[in-house]
């Protein structure tokens, strides 16, 4: 279970203070599929960074599957992230210089897993997203939809407890968007917690719950019949 209690985050430059999150409290049950919506600049990405252990809140508390992590060091967060969290981004964020197989493998690299095990799990993940035959291709040789499927494979290959998807369909056409949503739902059904930021009402409707954010605060939560 994930739990945020009065989490605040302020970005400061010399002259400007931006209140990205102004006291967010939120609970996400293990195995839940949550969609986060809100206009640009409302704090969605900041929230996702904190949920994904990429950043610490300035104040408040965050329980990551029962462990209070708000004051954890960078090193500890890295250890928790390793295998605990998978990410899917709007712009895919595949490494240009690595081929499909190697891109997916990056998720397993820092876990002390043997080369053979990594290989098997990468193959299985690529099989799962239907791209096993593209394993040796470079990202530049794939379509946008295919690239996002590689990104999904990279997120799920580590069998994380939590997958965070930041507008995963934002750069895709309807058909490819639907395919990615299908995959996320499937992963969620297998027991993985999924939190997704999206602008699409249709895609948000596929989640079990929608959280709306405005100016760094949760303004509404809608439970949907999944």
């Amino acid at each position: 279970m994930l739990k945020l209690a009065d989490v605040r985050k302020i970005y400061r430059t010399d002259e400007v203070e931006t209140h990205a999150l102004g006291g967010v409290s939120l609970e996400v049950q293990a195995g839940e599929f949550v969609a986060i919506m809100g206009p640009s600049g409302c704090g969605k990405s900041t929230l996702l960074n904190i949920l994904g252990l990429l950043d610490n809140p300035d104040s408040g508390q965050y329980w990551f599957f029962g462990e209070e992590v708000a004051r954890h060091s960078e090193r500890k967060l890295t250890q928790l992230r390793r295998g605990g969290v998978g990410f899917v981004f709007q712009s895919f964020n595949l490494v240009d210089d690595l081929n499909v197989r190697e891109n997916v493998e990056v998720s397993l690299l820092y876990r002390g897993m043997s080369g053979g095990d990594r290989h098997k799990r990468v193959a299985a993940a690529l099989e799962r997203v239907g791209l096993a035959h593209r394993a040796k291709h470079l990202p530049s040789q794939l379509s946008g939809g295919q690239q996002q499927r590689v990104a999904v494979a990279r997120a799920l290959v580590g069998e994380p407890k939590l997958i965070l998807a930041d507008e995963p369909t934002g750069n895709l056409d309807t058909e490819n968007g639907a395919a990615v949503m299908d995959m996320l739902r499937e992963i969620n059904k297998a027991g993985t917690t999924v939190i997704m930021v999206t602008h699409s009402l249709a895609h948000a409707a596929q989640a079990q719950r929608t959280v709306k954010l405005l100016d760094g605060q949760v303004v509404s939560e809608t439970l949907l019949a999944a």
């Binding site: 990429l54 890295t78 964020n93 690595l98 190697e102 876990r111």
Partner: protein
């Protein structure tokens, strides 16, 4: 895991071929520069190691401290020292003397001048040279024994093993021929790798050898304590050396019987350390340090290129870093990854460096007259260095980019603002400034060095050496009369070998205030000054205006301006007619009594050194060198006539002669080469800096494309954008001047002060070098800047 790192690194390298080649080739050139500097310096520090057992072989050097406080080191010692060493000290196992003679060899018609090393019969038992043929241990036990090196053997016999063959040897002084027998052949002395000057060794047992002549003469006679002998000793333990030096110095002083109050001390120098002995080779430490510094600067410039190009494209790698961090990579793992990547670059650079070094070393050796070797497959130490070099370079050049990358926050780099990643903008500016400071400094230094050399070669020489032929011959009247009759001979004058300032004798005179002053002594005909176009600054070298000569004795002598100053005269005029007594070197002969003229300072030896205060005497017994001024027309015919005149004296050996101009050119060659080497280093640094800047401009323009699009969309003209981009690269160059000027000025002022005659620091060179660097920088980046500045804003914006 490593394969995943390497895949990313190698594909990135290939994808960015241009950046990669600038980085790798730059590192290669930088490492090559450092390596060459290191090899040349090592060559200087490891002379004579081809002699087996060099670790126990020492040369006795003499340190003379005059009353005037001058400390003078000499490689030669009193001829009697060798026997004393062996007799008095148990740890001295063997000693051997070596005495050089400008002689010649002759096999039938095949004749040439050769430098002969006369050595004691046991010499090769002590100094074990590599043998090609014959038995070196017994080779010089017979009086006619002669040892040749391989190429001399080939020159006279056309083969490597002429053991048992006969060869005529011509002595310098008497010019008589003596039959010698080749008893052994040794390997060629390593060019540029030895302090031994000649590869022809004659047995000191030969009655005509200089060693035997010296041993025969009774004490007090000229030549009896000849101070031109090199004394070598094999000493079992280096711990006994201080005791030997301390024990012998008083004995040496007793032998030396200084007339002028100077004292001498003995210093035993291991033979492989002769060339790094600051006393024996003045300025060597500074010279070697400068060589290393130049090599290091080149490497530094290359490393800066690497760092800058790596970090300037940080945005390209930021995503990879972000993804790896998100996947749980720790900073340590990422630093390791980027260090491994740097190591790959540095290893490639090292391979290139090895290739360039292999290819260029023969040219470098020929250029610097050095004997640097690069046998890394045979030298574990060198091999270890080549393995360590990329590791060290990767660690130094890779650490900063690695840290820059690790500092990226994944949340930031994976978001939309990736193209704004700067990746160490300020440090990069600082590094570029440093690069240009080094470049400007090198340009100023090279310019000053070049001007000073030019000055030294053209203005500081002060002698007219055109068509002057030097003939090694005793000044006998019959030969001189023949010379007079040759139409192509305009004039001639006799002198001692000291005329060429090789190692003039020194003595102490009393200055006007009675204090002791060290002067150098050169035996000459007083006619020599006219022959060389040296007009006295005061007084006359002839008895009267009509040109009548002074009586031929040493009573009336000439000094140079330095001597006049040293003796305490305010003007040259004041010195003329003064009676300052000077002892004769020849026992019982008349010494100098009166100064008749002061000539300008001149030097036929290194212009780097201060011209020594010198007195010029008539001393017929010392005159073996005739300067002959030739008419410009038909020189070959004149030379043939001189050779015939020489043959008519009854000498069997051919004339030994050379043109002074050629000798001077050879002598200045090494100095000129130093200046040229400086220039080469500066040009290499310039190219590296320019290439680095070119890559940086490309990276920067790519990064700023969006900004440029926005600026243009908002109304900026092409000129506005161009100015913006050029200023970005011009700025570090302007700052670099602030660093470079004072440092280069200080260093060059210091360097010039080491010359007796030097130019003033050319201040105009500073802005010129700065302007040059700025123009180079702008020219390098202008193509890119112009291309981007002229692009339509939509193109620039769509780039995202």
């Amino acid at each position: 895991m490593l394969s995943n790192y390497l895949a990313a690194a190698l594909r990135n390298l290939v994808r960015n071929r241009l950046y990669s080649s600038i980085s790798v080739a730059g590192l290669g050139i930088g490492l090559c520069g450092a390596l060459l500097a290191l090899l040349v310096v090592r060559n200087q520090l490891t002379q004579d190691r081809f002699v087996a057992g060099y670790e126990q072989l020492y040369l006795a050097a003499t340190m003379t401290r005059t009353q005037g406080g001058v400390v003078d080191y000499s490689r030669s010692t009193d001829g009697r020292l060798a026997a004393l060493l062996k007799e008095r000290f148990r740890t001295v196992q063997q000693t051997g003397r070596l005495y050089l003679e400008n002689g010649g060899l002759q096999n039938g018609d095949n004749a040439a001048d050769e430098l002969i090393s006369w050595v004691d019969p046991e010499f090769f038992n002590m100094a074990r040279f590599p043998v090609v043929a014959g038995d070196l241990a017994t080779a010089l036990q017979r009086p006619d024994g002669l040892v040749l090196d391989r190429h001399t053997a080939r020159r006279y016999f056309g083969r490597d093993d002429p053991v048992g063959e006969s060869l005529q040897l011509r002595s310098a002084a008497s010019r008589e021929l003596h039959a010698m027998t080749v008893t052994a052949v040794i390997e060629d002395l390593p060019a540029g790798g030895t302090s031994f000057q000649a590869g022809v060794f004659g047995s000191g047992l030969a009655a005509h050898s200089l060693l035997a002549q010296m041993d025969r003469s009774s004490p007090g006679e000229p030549g009896s304590n000849a101070a031109g002998v090199f004394t070598y000793a094999r000493i079992a333990s280096s711990e006994s050396i201080p005791a030997i030096e301390a024990g012998l110095s008083p004995v040496m002083n007793a032998l030396f019987k200084s007339a002028d109050g100077s004292s001498i001390a003995l210093e035993l120098v291991r033979i492989d350390r002769l060339n790094r002995h600051e006393g024996l080779t003045p300025g060597i430490t500074a010279k070697l340090a400068l060589t290393l510094l130049l090599g290091f600067i080149i490497l530094l410039v290359a490393a800066v290129n690497y760092i800058n190009l790596f970090t300037a494209r940080a945005d390209q790698r930021a995503l990879e870093v972000g993804i790896r961090k998100v996947s749980g990579a720790t900073n340590g793992a990422l630093i390791r990854q980027f260090l491994v990547e740097s190591l790959a670059y540095a290893a490639l650079g090292t391979l290139i460096a090895i290739a360039i070094t292999e290819w260029s070393l023969p040219y470098v050796n020929a250029f610097l007259n050095a004997g640097a070797t690069f046998d890394y497959w045979r030298e574990p130490g060198l091999l270890a260095l080549l393995v360590a070099a990329p590791v060290v370079v990767a660690a130094l050049a890779g650490v900063w980019p690695a840290l820059t990358f690790c500092a990226f926050r994944p949340g930031m780099v994976l978001g939309a603002a990736r193209s704004q990643m700067r990746g160490g903008g300020l440090p990069r500016q600082v590094l570029v400034t440093l690069q240009f400071a080094l470049l400007i400094g090198l340009m100023i230094s090279a310019g000053v060095v070049f001007l000073q050399r030019h000055f030294a070669l053209h203005q500081a020489l002060r002698l007219n050496t055109d068509q002057i032929l030097m003939v090694w011959a005793p000044c006998r009247e019959a030969f001189l009369n023949d010379l007079r009759r040759i139409p192509g001979v305009r004039g001639f004058a006799c002198g001692g070998w000291q005329w060429l300032n090789e190692e003039p004798n020194r003595f102490t005179a009393r200055a006007r205030d009675g204090s002791p002053v060290n002067l150098w002594r050169v035996p000459v005909d007083l006619a020599v000054f006219d022959l060389y176009g040296l007009r006295p600054v005061a007084g006359r070298v002839t008895l009267d205006e009509a040109g009548r000569q002074y009586p031929q004795d040493a009573r009336h002598y000439v000094i140079n301006e330095s001597a006049a100053r040293r003796l305490g005269f305010r003007t040259a005029q004041e010195a003329v007619g003064q009676k300052i007594a000077i002892p004769s070197v020849v026992a019982g002969a008349v010494g100098g009594e009166e100064i008749i003229a002061v000539i300008p300072d001149y030097s036929l030896v290194s212009v780097e050194k201060a011209i020594k205060p010198t007195a010029y005497f008539f001393e017929p017994s010392q005159q073996y060198l005739i300067s002959v001024k030739l008419a410009a027309a038909d020189i070959p015919a004149t030379l043939a006539q001189i050779d015939r005149a020489w043959a008519a004296t009854g000498a069997k050996a051919p004339t030994s002669r050379f043109f002074l101009d050629e000798r001077l050119e050879r002598m200045y060659l090494s100095m000129l080469r130093q200046a040229q080497a400086f220039g080469v280093f500066a040009i290499v640094a310039l190219l590296l800096t320019a290439f680095g800047l070119f890559g940086l401009a490309m990276a920067s323009v790519a990064r700023r494309t969006r900004e440029i699009g926005i600026r243009k969309a908002l109304g900026a003209t092409t000129q506005d954008v161009l100015r913006l981009l050029l200023w970005q690269f011009g700025k570090p160059v302007v700052w670099a001047n602030l660093v470079a000027w004072p440092l280069a000025g200080w260093a060059m002022q210091h360097w010039l002060a080491g010359f007796a005659y030097h130019i003033d620091l050319p201040l105009w060179m500073f802005p010129l070098a700065g302007l040059g660097a700025l123009l180079i920088a702008l020219a390098t980046v202008s193509a890119h800047a112009l291309k981007v500045a002229r692009a339509r804003p939509m193109t620039a914006l769509r780039y995202e």
